[in-house]
């Protein structure tokens, strides 16, 4: 009996700090996002007025919000497709072929992932700079005339963001897929080769199906993380500008909450994006469902 109570006390002591921290700084704030979205709260006043779904109905006719959602969706679609295509192909090459300096490439490709988004944004801002930027000077060098493209101007800002985000993400996913592709038995490829299947056929018929479970999981997480990374990049690189051309959902939320001090309105955006990201993940999860294959 004595030992029994000691055991429960021990479990309690071990679990309680984590549960308290987790509840105070994650559960309660998450509940608050949804609760506050139904209220109006401004600046530094603690009074909140219940307004029901008014924040949401206002959002539906807010052109800036709609634009920020369009940008978010554009980033999710393009960044995901480009990153996954590159990461899968490069991972397949690096695991399948006998490449000299394989380790060297792996080390290099992972570097962007360890850099702060602020650093990456500063680097790309320098590259995209209209007058002294490396990209324009490189283009001038090749074309023979002075190129002065506004990479962060209204027309080019989204492609510029996409490039920076893909640059950041490729390495991480590549290293991850390399690990799962390395576990596919060599004999499968050998027998496929004897049957006359080329590299591309092997990639689509063997490699992809066998790591499909891994691709599915990472895809779901990538979508959630892209919504989030888009915010980090926009905040550090463009602040949503010029004229809101690069505003994304979460950066608009942040702007509403801090610059505009409409916390309730901001949280309505947060709640909506939250639901949106879960819905999208569930959808992707359902669409990509396949019978799992065994080696």
């Amino acid at each position: 009996m004595k030992k029994r109570s000691g055991r429960n006390g021990f479990i309690f002591l071990c679990a309680a700090p984590a549960v308290i921290l987790f509840t105070v700084f994650m559960i309660i704030p998450t509940i608050n996002v949804f609760r506050m979205s139904l209220f109006k709260r401004s600046a530094y006043s603690t009074t909140e007025d219940f307004v029901g779904l008014e924040n949401f109905t206002r959002l539906m006719s807010d052109a800036n919000f709609i634009r920020s959602m369009q940008n978010t969706i554009l980033l999710i679609v393009v960044v995901t497709i480009v990153t996954f295509a590159f990461a899968l192909v490069f991972a397949a090459i690096l695991t399948r072929e006998k490449i000299k300096g394989q380790n060297f490439f792996r080390i290099i490709f992972y570097i962007p992932n360890i850099l702060s988004v602020v650093v990456i944004s500063a680097i790309f801002s320098a590259i995209y700079d209209t007058n002294n930027g490396t990209l324009n000077s490189l283009l001038s060098l090749f074309s023979g005339e002075t190129v002065a493209i506004l990479w962060k101007g209204e027309n080019m800002v989204m492609p510029s963001l996409i490039i920076a985000m893909v640059w950041q993400a490729i390495g991480y996913y590549m290293v991850m897929y390399m690990a799962s592709m390395a576990s596919i038995p060599q004999s499968l490829y050998e027998s496929a080769g004897l049957d006359g299947a080329g590299r591309i056929t092997q990639f689509f018929q063997i490699t992809l199906p066998l790591i499909w479970t891994n691709i599915r999981t990472t895809l779901t997480f990538f979508i959630i993380s892209t919504i989030n990374m888009a915010f980090l990049f926009v905040k550090a690189m463009t602040s949503g500008g010029p004229n809101g051309a690069s505003e994304v959902a979460l950066s608009y939320m942040y702007k509403q909450a801090y610059t505009n001090s409409s916390y309730g309105y901001g949280m309505a955006i947060g709640a909506l994006v939250f639901i949106f990201s879960f819905g999208l993940s569930a959808l992707v999860n359902a669409v990509t469902k396949r019978e799992p294959l065994e080696f």
Binding site: E97, V118, A126, G171, L232, A236, Y263
Partner: protein
Amino acid sequence: MEQTKKSSAERLYKAFIYVALITLAITILIPVAWVFMASIKENSEFYGNPWAMPAGFYFQNFIDAWGKARMGEYMMNSVMVTALALLILLVVALPAAYVLSRFEFKGRKFLNAAFMGGLFINVNYIVVPIFLMLVDGDKFLKGIFEKGFLLNNVFVLAVVYAATALPFTIYLLSGYFSTLAHDYEEAAYIDGAGYGTTMVKIIFPMAQPSIITVILFNFLSFWNEYIIAMTLLSDPKGGKTLPVGLMQLTQAQQSAAQYGQLYAGLVLVMLPTLILYICVQKKLTQGMTLGGLKG
């Protein structure tokens, strides 16, 4: 005839692979190397050809960044926040992960599910409610002590970092703990060791590899984080972390071009993570297959 045709196609394919890999490696290496090069250039050198080598080693940039731009002070803040957050995280997460993965008790399933769910909550959604909670807390404290101390406090920032890293850390550690045989504890109990002693002296030392992985991943995310840091350390004259200070420097640079200082600041933010990466790159790329996901 057939044979030579095939091998030349083969060679072409190999060459193509190398070109693709090297191109990708270059697009990653050049920008990073370029920052290091630019950090030792004099300000006047930035108006010429961006590809020119630095004329000399202009160390003044680093002195200015460290002193005038207060990067030295921010660096100390970053070191403190990161170290504190890691310490709190380990002290809280290790025992929690241990009991959650190895003890049967009422509510265990629920707690495990709750922490798993926490993996899907991104900090950027909940940064506003956390901020408002601290604002309200400060107001409350002002009533008692005439002074609030929750905002602009590096310790509170460290606690928030640790709390929001709990789901991922507990998930990773539990995964490891649950693979260990129960014989270890039984043997220790027979020898008369209590629960606490067994956990600290027997189990934690065995978990060293995954503890190192946890430290690595969280070091990178704490060191590079800037949204929470920017929000919770909002006093314009007060302390900041390195990425937030760097972002300020980037924005200031647009009006008064202090390129040298900016690049020196970039180097200061990048260098610790790069050095760490070079030392432990094997661990990091192996560890991620064990973690498998990232927010």
